[in-house]
Symmetry: C2
């Protein structure tokens, strides 16, 4: 396939997965109760829907879905796992935007959840999405093998918890308060936890659902780790370059706040080189996995990650 054909294929898959994610989230966030639930309070449900629906590229679901597809696995179960992951991502945005955390009023050009509702509703909506993610990932329709579902729950908890995303956010907030310059090693660790862990989980969950062998798993984990790192450097670069309109949030904010970013440490030129090298590493890892042309869309995701403008 030529580069343009692959790029088009990637774009259409990204859109297709985003639409399927939206449809499944819509289905999961209905007002009727599941067995064991008593009532879904309307305002809480509305805040959860506001925080989860209608937004974003759905990159995490895309990575999970496309990795599972390498092994011929697709359909409802995969979409459920993808939505569980997206719920974790969305809850983290809701809590990170709170006044006591990053204190953001806008997210994707809309008022943040605590602005559209109130702080208590935002805390509870985040808690609700976080909790629901484990219901969705561990329940029977997600995979026929309960051992896979239990593994996915454990992997998701580790990626999202104190040794992953939550821990990364804690390190980031502490770094911001410290005023001291940050080492490259610290920034890499913090980012691998704050954003890298969930991106890596996306790929590892797809591999687990699809039944990858050891070699394939190792290659995909390398791909996911490199892609996650590339994604975060690209994000830092966009923020440094960014203008408010394109990002839908106040740009330049990272620089104001002694945020721990690789751009601050390496400068823009070196950061761009780092980003491109990480994307190449991600693509090389796919080659090592021996997936051949089937992995073209995942390789294109790595190229997209470095080329994106928002």
């Amino acid at each position: 396939m030529t580069g343009q054909v692959v790029a088009d294929q990637f774009s259409s898959r990204l859109v297709a997965v985003a639409e399927a994610t939206e449809a499944m989230l819509e289905k999961l966030l209905q007002s009727h109760c599941l067995p064991g639930e008593k009532e879904r309070p309307p305002r809480l449900l509305e805040a959860m829907r506001y925080g989860a629906l209608g937004g974003g590229k759905r990159l995490r679901p895309f990575l999970l879905v496309e990795t599972a597809r390498l092994f011929g696995r697709e359909g409802e179960g995969v979409m459920r796992a993808a939505c569980a992951l997206e719920m974790i991502h969305c809850y983290s945005l809701i809590h990170d935007d709170l006044p006591a955390m990053d204190d953001d009023d806008l997210r994707r050009g809309r008022p943040t959840v605590h602005k559209a509702f109130d702080e208590a509703a935002a805390i509870l909506a985040g808690d609700g999405l976080l909790t629901y993610a484990f219901d969705v990932v561990a329940d029977a329709p997600t995979h026929e093998d309960p051992a896979v579902r239990a593994d996915l729950a454990v992997m998701l908890a580790r990626a999202a918890g104190l040794g992953g995303m939550v821990g990364g956010q804690a390190l980031d907030l502490e770094a911001e308060k410290s005023q001291a310059p940050h080492s490259e090693g610290f920034v890499a660790l913090m980012q691998s936890m704050k954003t890298g862990a969930l991106l890596l989980y996306a790929v590892e969950a797809g591999a687990r659902m699809g039944g990858a062998d050891e070699r394939q798993k190792a290659a995909l984990s390398r791909y996911g780790a490199a892609l996650g790192a590339a994604f975060q450097v690209a994000d830092d670069i966009l923020d440094a370059e960014g203008d408010e309109q394109a990002l839908g949030k106040r740009a330049g904010k990272d620089a104001e706040r002694n945020k721990a970013t690789l751009v601050a440490i390496l400068g823009l030129a070196k950061a761009r080189k780092r980003r491109d090298a990480l994307a190449r590493e991600a693509i090389d890892a796919l080659d090592e996995g021996g997936f051949g042309a089937k992995a073209a869309v995942l390789a294109e995701a790595a190229r997209f990650t470095v080329a994106r403008k928002s």
Copy 2:
């Protein structure tokens, strides 16, 4: 057995389970990472430990452990499941105490997590405990059958989530803001979600781990629901009667705030009768389950729930 012998047996079991819970929580909340975790940031871990260790009667772990014991199941796996449940309870206290929620400075006579650390740390410590609970409940050492572990994760998520505890807290906060008088049906629903759901889960999780049959499961669910309701009415009565020292939190607070309680609707005398009737219903349910003398400690738990002074 005489009443006094059973009461003593109950007291010693309650202490033993509380100690085992503390020891297992201590083991789970160490600084070393599990596979898939990158680092456990020290200050975040400290806030999680502060919120989870050293407190409370550990009634939820007790109910889970004693229910599993009806079926001869005990040991590490049961303690892990008990601690996962307790982590959910502790996270809910941390988030409920936040300024945007109940705004409490004291909990069990100590500064609340956001007072001892800061608000961001309290939000993240809660998120971390909530997430970790699903790691602990779904991971292999908890039960040899992955189907049981996946089921426990789903059951826990439903008890704790938007159709359970989180939803109950949302309803409670809305009720408080409304100023309108609350119906008995609303209060019962809200309480069955806010506190009842986790107490019911404790019993249902013990039954699932122990391999209860349908009759036993139905009896234990009835026990758990009645006990949970009795517990909450007793709590409302204690608050209405309470003095600050005995409870370690500012008493009389519920009355100040148009809190939705059965005492406010029924008055103290009728609320006491309701509490006692619910406790009897719990004990009757155990009889129906046919557990005989083995269930004496659980029956005593129902008596304790209505007789406790804090």
